[in-house]
């Protein structure tokens, strides 16, 4: 029984192209151009699943994105949870099943690509029905750049579900015009789902899914369009709604407009014999098309008392309503309010139309209840936006065309274009409309009167909510879950408001709707993530030496976006072994490290020293040209923010270095003050972080290595003292050499152009070979500096630490009247003697490595919690030089506790440790000069 409900001709399907698919474990055939829903109906499948809460049979209710009922899970070609059968285009090899409740995610990674595009236009038109096409056509003809998006595979909108051949021909030719216009982008299968400030509209284009397994792998499956429009025309149409009556959830109950679409667009009869129940004119068009397609119309029940009692030989029961739809798992009969019963397998319902106001409302547009229309319609918005056609509550095609034309014209003119020649509009013969009536809930058994089909919410549920004291539709939504499902209440939202208003006896307009939120229709996580995944999730910043480090086995540490060599393990070495070897090499021989990630800022101008004096805690202006000073910056709250060295290049020029993570923040900080606080200061700051590559050459033999590389450079201590710099040539490369040490050892920093970095590095490596030069990474660097008690900002500080807390009183100028942060040092909290101080810790057993983050307590046995804590371990390492583990810690009143024993609770044990000076290695500083 193949496609026994298929009409013999007509529709927009390709009858020459059969498509095989599987649903609920059975094989079926449909045609190219079908949706899963239309193909199922063609095969007589009327029930698609059972309902989520009550397990009632449920079928196909609508024909588009508004479908509340026919949820499906796609299993093949790749699992995709919870789609509606009405939006899944049929393709060969589709395997799906009905979904009563929860969707299923795939167990394997999604192989598809996803991407995003930015688009700009003068006029964005959403919806390619008659209104949208007319708008786009006028706007395009004016010369404006137009983007037209529509979620269907082809333009035409609701016309596609009609037999309006004149209008359809017009639509086809307009679409062809638009496609031929280079300034127009016509995007089909594209849903605008988010409307944000400043006419920013987000849409998703489904590009390859409808091709099934044949989808080309190199194309993105879905694409996010980020559209910035100067003017927007919303021509998104309207959604038909049902009303609450007994058994209104039975398979076979269908929106009248949807049935019309199935016959006309897909060549499918959704049933054999139908009762039509309506409150307005639109269902008659559906009835006519079904009748012509061979569906028997048993009766038309028209709630309007003055409806014409005869229509094309069908009995019209004017002024009547439905009492219930009857049947086991599908409609078998329809019972009227007067008890009359009609056998039927289809009940077509129309209780009016809701203009699709979601996008409009998302961006702050007001919706107002229009009593004549019986629906909420657009009523004012801050954006540059027009609403046209059914989205505006205008239903006759002629009206839609006229409104679309006017909207397109207005949009074009608002963006500076003059409307030009447009394709003449089709003439359509439409009967003048008779006013509808508005009904929400009919008398009956409220427990089987469904308001939200997908969430199984009935009138009885709503009555419980209002009975419990709820007066707001927002409360009722949350109490009953109405409108919170996959369809977000597209067909049920206004009905919910109507029923609540009805039960509370208030005006539905005063009650309002629940809030519309993006997305208008569900959108996949993957589409939104796009290509920002894996390595592209966040930029990987690398130095000029990165490939060398990789080739030499370095393991890397993420520091902000940077990759920094962490350590260079040799065969069989773990972190500790490698770091021990690296440390020893630096302390005893010579090591080299890539320090290029430090931020570097060129600060110049007559007032450069003034600026730096105001931003650093210490005095910079007294620095001599040729010399270098370490400096600390605080935020205004007095907490340490960054540290680094300042090099004076000339009387009016400095080079400032920052920590790796803070380069941008420090430059912003400087610019902030320069531009907003002290515009009178003549200073220019330029980032040169990547202009320079920096190689640290460290250790007692470093002088010899440098000597070999720079034979013309006097390198002995007197000629090249600590904290000075020289411009010279190293290994034949122009270089700036600084005598700085972050390890306590004799050390140099060699700065060369990024382009010369590899050449320098290899030259240093070669020149150092006779001295056993060893490359080392951040871990060794951290150990070496910790042995000297040098803090790492961000590791030994946490935004609550002052320079004084770090024991760096010496870096806080007493002479300067002010610098940023100074005033905060005078606050009560900063004067407390029990502030936390940075101190050293030595585990008494000489062996335990304290975990970083461990806390310290005063007592030998732990009391019941909360246990008073003294502070915590900020840094902790095995020291090759000291031959034991040691740590740095922030301890309450730590500087006054030197020599005291405190305890680190580790698991069940309390490890005794002794508080010491943070400088544990070479406290006299004898090694720095070699």
């Amino acid at each position: 029984m193949s496609q026994e409900f298929r009409t013999t001709s007509g529709g927009r399907i390709d009858r020459d192209q059969a498509v095989r698919f599987r649903f609920g474990g059975r094989d079926y055939e449909g045609y190219a151009g079908d949706t899963l829903a239309s193909a199922l109906l063609a095969n007589g499948v009327i029930q698609t699943s059972t309902s989520i809460k009550l397990g009632r049979p449920r079928g196909i209710f609508a024909a588009g994105v508004e479908e509340p009922n026919a949820l499906v899970q796609v299993e093949e070609p790749f699992p995709e949870p919870m789609l509606t059968a009405t939006t899944v285009e049929l393709y060969d090899g589709l395997v799906a099943r009905g979904l009563p409740g929860q969707g299923r995610l795939a167990n394997e990674p999604d192989p598809a690509r996803y991407d995003a595009m930015h688009a700009h236009c003068d006029v964005l038109v959403v919806g390619a029905g008659p209104a949208g096409l007319a708008a786009a056509s006028v706007a395009a003809a004016s010369g404006a750049r137009v983007v037209l998006v529509d979620d269907q595979p082809e333009p035409g909108g609701s016309l596609l579900g009609t037999r309006e051949t004149g209008a359809l021909d017009w639509a086809a030719s307009v679409a062809a015009d638009l496609r031929a216009n280079p300034e127009v982008r016509l995007l089909t299968r594209t849903t605008a789902f988010g409307y944000y400030d400043d006419n920013y509209v987000i849409a998703v284009e489904r590009r390859t899914n409808h091709l099934g397994a044949a989808a080309p792998a190199h194309l993105s499956r879905e694409r996010i369009w980020r559209i910035r429009a100067r003017h927007v025309v919303l021509a998104t149409g309207a959604h038909e709604r049902s009303l609450a009556f007994d058994g209104n959830d039975l398979p076979g109950v269908m929106l009248a407009g949807a049935a019309r679409t199935y016959v006309n667009r897909y060549g499918v009869r959704p049933g054999r014999r139908a009762v039509v129940f309506t409150t307005n004119d639109s269902a008659y068009a559906a009835a006519a098309d079904l009748l012509d397609a061979g569906v028997e119309i048993a009766a038309i029940v028209d709630a309007r008392p003055d409806a014409n009692p005869q229509w094309r030989g069908v009995e019209v029961l004017a002024g009547h309503t439905i009492a219930r739809a009857r049947g086991e798992d599908r409609v078998a009969a329809v019972v009227l309010d007067d008890g009359r019963e009609f056998a039927a397998d289809l009940l077509l319902v129309s209780a009016g139309w809701n203009p699709a106001g979601a996008l409009y409302s998302q961006v702050g547009g007001r919706l107002r209840f229009d009593a004549d229309l019986g629906a909420f319609r657009p009523d004012g918005c801050r954006q540059a936006v027009e609403v046209a056609g059914a989205a505006n509550g205008t239903y006759p095609v002629v009206g839609c065309l006229a409104e679309g034309t006017a909207a397109g014209q207005k949009a074009a003119e608002a963006t500076g274009f003059t409307a030009g020649q447009v394709r003449p509009l089709p003439t359509i013969d439409e009967r003048p409309a008779t006013p509808p009536v508005h009904l929400w809930a009919l008398p009956g058994d409220e427990a089987t009167q469904f308001v939200d089909l997908q969430r199984d919410v009935t009138v009885a549920d709503i009555r419980r909510a209002t009975g419990a004291g709820m007066r707001s539709v927002e409360h009722v939504k949350r109490y009953t879950t109405a409108g919170t499902a996959h369809d977000q209440g597209k067909t049920s939202g206004t009905l919910t408001s109507g029923v609540v208003a009805h039960l509370l006896g208030v005006d539905v307009g005063d009650l309002g709707t629940t809030t519309f939120r993006p997305p208008y229709a569900p959108v996949s996580f993957a589409a939104l993530a796009g290509r920002d995944r894996g390595a592209l999730h966040d930029p990987v910043r690398v130095t000029a030496l990165h490939s060398w480090h990789e080739a030499h086995g370095a393991l890397f540490e993420n520091v902000g976006q940077w990759k920094r060599p962490w350590y260079y393990p040799q065969a069989g070495e773990d972190l500790h072994a490698a770091v021990r070897r690296e440390c020893r090499a630096v302390r005893e021989g010579v090591g080299m490290m890539d320090a290029s990630t430090l931020g570097k800022i060129d600060v110049q101008g007559p007032d450069a020293a003034v600026l730096l004096d105001r931003l650093y805690t210490n005095l910079i202006s007294t620095l001599k040209v040729g010399a270098i000073r370490y400096g600390v910056m605080c935020r205004a709250d007095g907490m340490v923010f960054d540290d680094g060295t300042v090099i004076r290049l000339a009387s009016d020029r400095f080079l400032v270095t920052t920590t790796t993570g803070n380069a941008a923040a420090v430059l912003d900080w400087m610019e902030d003050f320069l531009q907003t606080e002290w515009p009178d200061l003549r200073v220019r700051c330029t980032s040169v972080t990547e202009q320079w590559a920096t190689v640290a050459l460290v250790g007692p033999r470093s002088r010899e290595v440098l000597g070999a590389l720079a034979p013309h450079l006097p390198v002995d201590n007197a000629d090249f003292p600590f904290m000075t710099w020289r411009d010279t040539s190293v290994a034949g490369l122009p270089a700036r050499v600084c005598r700085i040490s972050f390890s306590g050892e004799l050390a140099y920093e060699l700065n060369v152009s990024w382009w010369d970095a590899l050449a320098l590095w290899e030259a240093v490596y070669a020149a150092g070979e006779p001295f056993g030069i060893t490359t080392y990474g951040t871990e060794t660097m951290h150990v070496l500096r910790a042995e000297k008690g040098y803090p790492i900002i961000g590791q030994d500080t946490d935004g609550t630490v002052t320079p004084q807390d770090l024991g760096m009183d010496w870096v806080v100028s007493k002479k300067k009247p002010d610098f940023v942060g100074k005033r905060s040092f005078a606050r009560a909290e900063n004067a407390r003697p029990d502030r936390k101080h940075l101190v050293g810790l030595l585990p008494d057993d000489g062996a335990t490595l304290l975990p970083e983050g461990a806390h310290l307590v005063e007592m030998e046995t732990l009391p019941e919690p909360p246990v008073p804590m003294l502070g915590h371990v900020t840094s902790s390492y095995h020291s090759a030089a000291l031959g034991r583990p040691f740590a740095l810690a922030l301890i309450r009143g730590g500087r006054d506790r030197m020599g005291e024993r405190v305890y680190a609770p580790l698991g069940e044990a309390l490890v005794p440790v002794t508080i010491t000076s943070p400088v544990l290695y070479d406290p006299e500083g004898t090694r720095r000069d070699g």
Partner: protein, 408 residues
């Protein structure tokens, strides 16, 4: 066959009255969010103060209470924070019974992921502090993270690989609306008037003391007034001439469609900015990073959501074809030290509770308890004493973002 949701408990048939405001109350609470409602409940229950009105400008609990990602945990770094959040967690553990309302409190545990060596240090620091403070806490290595939540991608090919995480087994989620309604119903039953659609537009002060409030439904006199306006705290406090050190920002969240269970716990990642749990019906509930600018619009910008999704897929590749069903935003009031402000104000008998920022849902019972005490006694409960307004003058901040920042 019945699906997910059918096993969820039913709401009571009766929740609250909708009374007309009286002309005067002993205590007026401004704001019927979770905090305001809990405060009213504990005022009545713990202190016998029942002549209380909670005034709400919109619908009851329609502010942040309706829109948070419902994460409950107490594993904060500093002693002061651990004190009040752990007090709250203990109350959560008995709340369902106390309120006689099914609030779906589920102690499924919360994992806070660490993605850098510094994250690891901060995490261990927090775990150790938690333990000493009597808060359950564990450090998990990546493999253990995977055991707790099997779909987390702990492989090294993630841009910021998971280096481990902290785990609080007693933490979890609860159903936000039910919590609000539970407190509301219980407060109503004790005689508290819950008055919706009644916006406070002015605060009446005479001789340095609060005497009542102006509202869209007329003036109401009060012996004491307690602000609990969350995102609108600055606006309300301004009515008394008080400036608060808070800034109101949009914070967004989203849900997916209902999915078969895949995510048994709560996973938070500060570094990549995503927070995930799977709610009782099956929807994935996710929070994003905060929008940078001040905003009272209850909506945020879309690039925040896009960023959140790419972060989510980094950690949970299985989510690729899940769908975003709905996004929304709330208004969070953020303080300079990421800790709340609860206590007295310069105006006599006017009290402040604000600044919970992105993380005050979890505190709901705890802060209600302490705030009620503060109001009843005219001085702070010991647990909220450290969160005074004057800490910003003295500098005694409780800086929860510097060290081990975890939002929510």
């Amino acid at each position: 066959m019945a699906g997910p949701g059918s096993d969820l408990p039913d709401h009571p048939d009766w929740l609250w009255r909708n009374p007309e405001p009286k002309r005067s109350y002993d205590v007026i609470v401004i704001g019927a969010g979770g905090h305001g409602l809990a405060t009213a409940y504990y005022l009545a229950k713990n202190h016998g103060i029942t002549n209380v009105a909670v005034l709400e400008r919109g619908w009851l609990a329609g502010g942040n209470m309706a829109r948070n990602t419902t994460i409950i945990r107490s594993n904060y770094l500093w002693d002061e924070s651990a004190g009040i959040y752990e007090h709250a967690l203990k109350l959560w553990e008995g709340l369902e019974e106390d309120l006689d309302y099914p609030i779906l409190f589920s102690q499924r545990g919360v994992v806070n992921l660490a993605h850098s060596l510094q994250d690891v240090r901060d995490s261990v620091r927090r775990v150790e502090a938690n333990r000493l403070n009597g808060v359950d806490a564990e450090w998990l290595d990546p493999q253990q993270v995977k055991e707790v939540c099997p779909i987390v991608n702990v492989s090294p090919d993630v841009r910021y690989p998971v280096l481990g995480g902290t785990y609080q087994p007693r933490a979890g989620i609860a159903k936000h609306d039910y919590v609000a309604w539970g407190f509301a119903r219980a407060a109503d039953a004790l005689g508290v008037d819950l008055i919706q659609h009644c916006e406070v537009t002015g605060l009446d002060i005479a001789g340095g003391r609060i005497t009542g409030v102006q509202t869209t439904r007329g003036r109401i006199a009060a012996g004491k007034v307690a602000m609990a306006a969350a995102g609108h705290s600055s606006v309300v406090a301004r009515m008394a001439g008080i400036d608060l050190p808070v800034q109101s920002h949009p914070l967004q969240a989203l849900v997916s469609e209902l999915l078969e269970p895949v995510h048994p716990t709560v996973v938070m990642s500060n570094a990549v900015h995503v927070y995930v749990s799977q709610a009782h019906k099956g929807e994935l509930v996710m929070g994003a990073g905060i929008d940078s600018y001040n905003g009272y619009g209850q909506r945020g910008a879309f690039h925040i959501i896009e960023r959140q999704m790419s972060a989510a897929l980094e950690l949970f590749p299985a989510f690729a074809r899940a769908h975003v069903l709905r996004t929304w935003g709330g208004i969070v009031d953020v303080t300079p030290d990421a800790s709340p402000i609860v206590g007295l104000t310069p105006v006599d008998e006017l009290y402040v509770n604000c600044g919970w920022g992105t993380g005050g849902f979890k505190a709901t019972p705890g802060v209600g308890w302490c705030y009620a005490h503060t109001i009843a006694h005219g001085e702070p409960h010991p647990l909220n004493a450290p969160f005074s307004l004057d800490r910003f003058t003295t500098g005694a901040l409780v800086d929860e973002h510097g060290a081990a920042a975890v939002a929510h």
